[in-house]
Amino acid sequence: MKELVVKSLTDNLESVLGFVDSELEDCGCSPKTMIQIDIAVEELFVNIANYAYGSDTGPATIRVERSENPRAVTITFIDCGMPYDPLAKPDPDTTLSVEEREIGGLGIFMVKKSMDDMTYEYRDGKNILTIKKNL
């Protein structure tokens, strides 16, 4: 298990992705799966950066764990900001026309669709969001 703690700033996205990618490269992840995981990490980290601490910043922890049988990677995002369960939001209506379409909620929806598992809990004052992708 490896862990990275950064300030909740969009400017840190690159270092977060670099950290996750180096873990994924070590486990022989396919390029397509790596892109899917990178997109999920971006959406979730940027959500923390933009919303978790309001206009303030705070710590964001990213934890990467690998498991065997079945081979999978689990990534956990932890922040101490206001309680927010992204899974509680209804999925966006993807059948609307261009003029009616809104982008809100699309990021989380993309993560839900591309990952094999996604869980949220609020514990000890922390938002703990976990995604799992089978490799």
Binding site: L13, K32, I35, Q36, E43, T94, I103, M110
Partner: protein
């Protein structure tokens, strides 16, 4: 991300290379803002784009809304991972993807 624009009369081709993400999407949006006047045919060549996040989708959607008023827009060269994103988000139905 690299943005390469080629204009031929009223047709503009925008070739994107790299990642269209939270960081680069505002750059593309700003770049397009001054480039679409009088354009009736806009093509995004994304054959060298590896990645698109919801921030990138937002720019494509707002550009499509602009082009709906003045002409046509299409997207060419999407890789498998990006095609899947267009699929699950329903963008295949609202964008002209060739």
């Amino acid at each position: 991300m690299n943005i390469k624009k080629t204009q031929n009369g009223n047709k503009l081709t925008v070739a994107l290379e790299g990642r269209l993400d939270t960081v680069s999407s505002p750059e593309l949006e700003a770049d397009l803002k001054g480039s679409l006047d009088g354009i009736t045919d806009l093509e995004f060549d994304i054959s060298a784009l590896e990645y698109i996040s919801s921030a990138g989708l937002r720019v494509l959607l707002s550009t499509q809304k602009i082009m709906n008023k003045q002409g046509d827009m299409c997207i060419t060269g999407a890789n498998e991972a990006i095609m899947e994103i267009f699929d699950v988000t329903g963008f295949v139905d609202i964008l002209n993807i060739k």
